[in-house]
Amino acid sequence: MRHDLAELSRVTPVRVMAVDAVSLEQRAAALAGRSLKREAKLGALDLAIRCTDYTTLEGADTPGRIVQLCAKAVRPDPSDHSIPSVAAVCVYPEMVPTAVGCLKGTSIGIASVAGAFPAGLGPLSARLEEIRWVVEQGATEVDMVLNRGAFLSGHYGVAFDEIAASKDASGAAHLKVILETGELGPYDQVRKASMLAMAAGADFIKTSTGKIGTSATLPVALCMAESIRDFAEQTGQAIGLKVAGGIRTAKQSWQYLVVIQETLGVEWMHPDRFRIGASSLLNELLLQLRTQQTGRYQSLDSFTDG
């Protein structure tokens, strides 16, 4: 459902709160230090797999590569049927038809980046057309990027309207808005962009494209989670969070889960409201899961390539 920001501010003013960087980073560091019970670690690993958007976004992607990705997405560990499937695969538009073919009959989502990923600076009509096209091809989730050029130059209305138009173009597909927090500067900007994207109709807000040096960090995720909590309090709507880029270890994945649980509550500990965009992380999760179960480390070669 989309909101007109002006309309929304008349009915329920969406406040954009300031963020104190020192304290935010302290809180994130404190949460990173929580230790989990062994069963909780198993639960966290299982949940992290179920929340994974298994991703390949390379210029070198081919249908063959996508077939391999999808097979791994359905059955991350062919030797262990208790391992769940991932939440979705995340691919470039041209690869959507291949992914649709591979994942027919499964509950796995097909996410496509669209809208001149990763810069988002193409003509608006072309960006919207790209979104409509991927949805027609069968994408169930659309990962678009915030127009940082508009946002950083203070043209918030433009950035807002583009997201709202993209939401219309996505139709029934879920819309994730990538803020590319590494390009936004201070946390206040992350908070402002989060509130803007949610008010404009985002179903999920997402940290990063993974295409620049700075990707998801724990404080950024905490800042976005706090924005989501405020938006839920102010509008009654529950928006999801996707962290992406640079998440490679099992420990990182459960640190994000702790941030989510402590900030947003247990209702967000579910793939409908939390996603991790990753590729190499999946085998790390499997490795840790088997280590926790057997008490022995395995070689990464014991797990199939995705």
Binding site: S23, S35, L36, D46, R50, Q261, V266, M269
Partner: protein, 487 residues
Amino acid sequence: MDLEPVKLQYATSRESTDIVHLEKSYGLFIDGKMVEPRSGAMFTSVNPATEEPLTQVAEAGSDDVDLAVAAARRAYEHGWRDLPGKERAKYVFRIARLLQERAREFAVLETIDGGKPIKESRDVDIPLAAAHFFYYAGWADKLGYAFPGRRPKPIGVAGQIIPWNFPLLMAAWKLAPALASGNTVVLKPAETTPLTALLLTEVLRDADLPPGVVNVLTGDGVAGAALVNHPGVDKIAFTGSTDVGKEIQRALAGTGKRLTLELGGKAANIVFEDAALDQAVEGVVNGIFFNQGHVCCAGSRLLLQEPIAEAFLDKLRSRMATLRVGDPLDKNTDVGAINSRQQLDKISSLVDAGVEEGAEMYQAPCPLPERGFWFRPTILTGVTPAHRVAQEEIFGPVLSVLTFRTPEEAVAKANNTRYGLSAGVWTEKGSKILWMADRLRAGVVWENTFNRFDPASPFGGFRESGFGREGGVQGLAPYLALEAIDA
């Protein structure tokens, strides 16, 4: 496939106590040796989280105070006073390094003797204690530069009486500047938390500190009073309650002894509507629930600007629901045990009085252990300045909430107290912070943070919070006679 959300359970991650070796009983540390108290009297130190006895500790009487003061006097006159600053510095540096080397042992002991979470003793108390020794060690050979136009000389024998809320840290705050300035010391730790000061005597011996330079007398108010009234003591430094502070000041009037007092507080933590509210919530939680609220500078009065008061309290209550209260040795614990049954009773009765006066109470819904002294993190709303809980120091995890409309009103309410130790201001506007800091009558004003300490920064109060400063170059002054140098 519809799946339920998953809730992660945190593991008990209990710090081992194996590193701590407690003797069956401890004597008094006088003239470099552990000696039995003259009277033979002993008392028991208890772990407040389990109510189990830890060990027996000597109860010093006035005879023991005589011996300790005499030892301190000998050490002062026969060596320590005349030792060059750079030599004194070596001892103080050595103490700092030895503390760091044994940091884990000190942290565990502090936690089992006082009830504070291991997270805090490990990350705050012990590192800061070492930092104070390092800082003042650096001053020992530079005293001539600390007060331009003055020639600094040590004072003599200092009697130092410290509280139970930060036992080792308060010992460090007192010992480090006194030793660096060339004074000798008789230290009396609090009755309920004597153990880290006793462990510190091992560090002093390992540092080869000459006998008598520091003497440690455990005991109760009897020993404290004997120390205060001893004619051989040149200076008293006291941290503790305002009532005892007043008694000490009365006793010292006309004696010529120097005095510094660091007493109670009822600090205002002031949140403006433009503040970073999510972080202010963290700051408010840290301000009042840090060390179970057993903090003289705790932000025990929350002043909220009216437009955000309700929203802020909602956030605060949700955050309080995630606080983990319990076993202080568990690294996940946020709030530990109340220091003693006596303190628990005092907190309970003041909170009852608050509710009777019409305050509305919210308590964090956390499970509490069966044994030990515990009090749920508590907020009292609907409090007005006339209520006892808005005026009296509770010294527990209890926050009284008031509201205000304008900065002027915030200042008026914040200053409407007998105390003046600390205050916090939360706003994104720098000019407002400076405007507030000019008008708040408090020794420390924190801006967008709370309970941050640094050895280089002076700490101390106004009015009934006491006088004199600890920390920084200012913290040297109470331990030095500053003679004018003729031009």
